[in-house]
């Protein structure tokens, strides 16, 4: 199978994730969509790794997963903190950081 198929799927997953980040307001869903984007990237890495026949891409994919795990930790922690302070769980409401 040509590598194009893998890359197409990867691109679709990434774009879906990106669309989700841009359109959803629930921070939990935004985080999920971020995961989608990362995994879209992972898919492309693994496809390339397969194409070249060495393990570099796979190692990079594992690094990305580690980063994703860290990011989810912090993201979920923040969401819990927001919840505990009785703030709205909505990224559009949380916009004090503006010029």
């Amino acid at each position: 199978m040509s590598i194009s198929w893998y890359l197409a799927v990867s691109a679709i997953v990434f774009s879906l994730g990106a669309l989700g980040v841009m359109t959803r307001r629930n921070p939990l869903v935004v985080l999920l969509c971020l995961e989608l984007m990362l995994n879209g990237g992972n898919l492309a890495l693994i496809a390339f790794s397969r194409m070249w026949g060495n393990g570099d891409g796979q190692i990079l994919a594992i690094v990305v997963m580690t980063v994703a795990a860290c990011e989810v930790c912090i993201g979920l922690g923040m969401i819990v903190a927001i919840y505990r302070r009785n703030l709205p769980i909505d990224v559009d409401e949380l916009r004090e950081l503006q010029g």
Binding site: A18, M22, V91, E96
Partner: protein, 678 residues
């Protein structure tokens, strides 16, 4: 000890005194600062005596000794050294400066006793003496300029000593600005000379100028650069020595405490210009044009200041104008080649003028701070000692034999007359000035000490020293505080303070006897002593024509006596209610207006310099500063930054997905760019 070691000690003691009083002011008990300051200057005087004795031990040909502590810079042909020159001229100056300063410090201990700035006062005064000694001992132009500027700064500090009086601070600023003008002249003049000689050292400069093979300024006299340099040096001398037209600061400087007027504005600092011309005589002798400028300005000053002195009523200002006038004689003297006579007059003038100021200080003390002659009168019985000192100083100033001023002033005029030609005009001007001198001096004495005693004098005769209920500024009549920075309500008079009496008594002895050091045709102590410093000066040797000498001495005596007689006629015989003087004033109204308004010099300088400068400043502020700098440059920059930041701030909406969308768009844009590139 070697001669130059004494020279360094002369500088070290006053500096030490300054530092001890300045940094130890919290720990010095009572009036000890005054005694420390006096002792420091007295030690300097002793060291100066040591230098004198040690110098006389050298052969006359090797009495110009330079000592350098270290080099400041010796690159690019500049030989800037920390060096002093000990020669008869500088030793003469340090003896006069430290000797008179010791007595004035002693006087100040009593005079400033009740002032709350006592320690500060002595610190400043010691600093002044240090600066003055540095000025006269300097062995090169650089150190001379340093001393010159220090002296100006010390003068500023002491004129503005009572810093809460606005009149005093204004006078201090005026003095400082005019003195800095002189400093600029001195520095620029040095450049002109250094450019040709390539050395800053005095002796090397003189050698370069006097060299027979390759003189620095050519063989002919009146080389353009030399004349320019000498005239710029003269600007410095005129500003420091209060010569026309840079004299207006001196009368205003009388705002300072009276001992300060006595020390700085009569005996020492204002004579720096005379010293400068005498020191630079090898240069001036090759620039006769500059010498003529000095002589004419000196003569003009002595006449104009004399006429102003006739009309002033503030006792300190009368003496200040008299100082200007006497320094006019000295400047004229050293400019026509009468070096020894000019310096001799410098010395005798230091004695009798310091004495007159001290006596005036005592009188002002008895008046409770009042300085106007209009309010004084009849102090003769109440203050016999001050009266005697005033008489001695007045006779010396008027040039009555055998008092000191007689010999020194007539010697200057004698040498001026010997030059012949148009110098006869200066000769005549000098004698007219002497006539004015006698009149205004005795006007002062007769008005203050003779006639009906005023209430203050009566009080003092009854044994009570008058103290004003409310201290007032004598210049403006404003009520004054008695806090630090103002003269206190308590005053001192010589009759009741031993240190003041000692100082005035010793100066009175000097005023009486100092003239006998050098009597024409009899002894030549000053001439002989100073000769090594003026070894190459043309016409230094007195070749006095006896006829002219006799005429001059007789004329001087007669003119002095005539002036005193006229003053007696006007203010004693014509006494009641000043009838005679009022009549004269009414008859010569325009002249009187001219004199009492000081020949309108302040107004002239105001109109010619201050007003145009202020107008130019206002114009620059309104157009250049406000419109161009503030609005265009500064306003433009801030406008750009503000507009840019407003645009960037608008992008910071706080919506996370908006940022994410921008990010995606940006990455997509970059991606498309590279796609299109390939």
């Amino acid at each position: 000890m070697s001669t130059t070691t004494y020279g360094w000690l002369v500088l070290a003691f006053p500096l030490l005194g300054t530092l001890v009083t300045a940094f130890g002011y919290r720990y010095l008990p009572g009036r000890s600062a005054g005694w420390i300051g006096t002792a420091a200057i007295f030690l300097a005087f002793l060291a100066a005596l040591g230098a004198l004795i040690s110098l006389q031990g050298h052969a006359p040909g090797s009495r110009q000794i330079v000592s350098s502590l270290w080099n400041y810079a010796s690159t690019m042909g500049i030989d800037a050294q920390m060096s002093i020159l000990v020669d008869p001229l500088s030793v003469f100056m340090i003896l006069v400066v430290s000797g008179v300063s010791t007595l004035i410090h002693l006087y100040s201990i009593s005079y400033m006793d009740k002032d709350r700035g006592f320690v500060r006062y002595f610190s400043y005064l010691n600093f002044f003496v240090f600066s003055m000694l540095l000025l006269v001992l300097a062995g090169n132009f650089l150190l001379l300029i340093v001393g010159w500027a220090f002296v100006g700064a010390a003068s500023y500090l002491l004129i503005s000593f009572w810093y809460r009086r606005t009149t005093a601070t204004k006078a201090g600023i005026k003095a400082f600005v005019i003195n800095v003008l002189g400093d600029a002249g001195l520095v620029l003049g040095t450049y002109f000379i250094f450019k040709h000689t390539g050395t800053l050292d005095f002796l090397k400069t003189f050698h370069a100028v006097e060299s027979t093979a390759h003189p620095a300024f050519g063989h002919a006299t009146n080389n353009g650069d030399l004349v320019a340099g000498c005239i710029l040096l003269l600007v410095g001398a005129f500003a420091k020595s209060a010569q026309i037209p840079l004299h207006t600061w001196l009368p205003d400087a009388m705002e300072g405490p009276t001992p300060v007027s006595s020390l700085i504005h009569a005996a020492t600092m204002v004579t720096a210009g005379v010293y400068l011309i005498a020191r630079m005589h090898p240069l001036f002798e090759r620039a006769p044009a500059a010498q003529d400028v000095g002589a004419v300005v000196g003569a003009a000053t002595l006449l104009i200041a004399g006429t102003i002195g006739l009309a002033q009523t503030d006792i300190k200002r009368v003496i200040a104008y008299s100082t200007m006038s006497q320094i006019g004689y000295m400047i004229m003297g050293v400019s026509v080649g009468a070096y020894a006579a000019g310096l001799f007059h410098l010395m005798t003038h230091a004695f009798f003028k310091a004495l007159l100021f001290m006596a005036a200080g005592s009188l002002i003390g008895a008046m409770g701070g009042e300085q106007s002659l209009e309010k004084m009168g009849g102090f003769r019985k109440a203050m016999p000692f001050t009266y005697a000192c005033f008489i001695v100083g007045g006779l010396a100033l008027s040039g009555i034999p055998p008092f000191s001023g007689f010999f020194s002033k007539d010697e200057i005029l004698l040498v001026t007359g010997e030059r012949g030609g148009w110098h006869w005009i200066l000769y005549v001007a000098g004698y007219i000035g002497a006539f004015f001198t006698a009149i205004y001096t005795f006007r002062m004495i007769f008005r203050a000490f003779h006639g009906e005693p005023v209430s203050e004098a009566r009080e003092l005769e009854g044994g009570h020293l008058h103290h004003a209920a409310i201290p007032r500024n004598p210049a403006t009549g404003e009520e004054e505080d008695t806090d630090v920075g103002f003269p206190g309500p308590n005053h001192a008079i010589a009759e009741r303070a031993l240190p003041m009496r000692i100082a005035m008594g010793l100066l009175a002895l000097g005023a009486v006897g100092a003239g006998l050091i050098q009597i024409p045709k009899v002894d030549f102590v000053i001439d002989d002593f100073l000769r090594p410093s003026f070894a190459t000066a043309k016409g230094y040797e007195p070749h006095t024509k006896t006829g002219l000498l006799v005429i001059g001495l007789t004329l001087g005596t007669l003119i002095g006596l005539a002036g005193i007689a006229l003053a007696y006629r006007i203010w004693i015989v014509g006494g009641e209610e000043l009838k005679a003087s009022t009549a004269i004033r009414e008859r010569t109204r325009p002249l009187y207006e001219l004199f009492v308004n000081k020949w309108y010099f302040d107004e002239l300088i105001d109109a010619l310099v201050v007003k145009p400068m202020a107008a130019a400043g206002a114009f620059a502020r309104d157009t250049f500063e406000r419109v161009f700098v503030d609005e265009t440059l500064v306003g433009g920059t801030t406008g750009i930054v503000r507009a840019g930041s407003a645009a960037v701030r608008a992008a910071q909406s706080g919506f996370v997905r908006y940022y994410a969308a921008l990010l995606v768009l940006g990455v997509a844009g970059v991606g498309f760019y590279f796609l299109l590139q390939t």
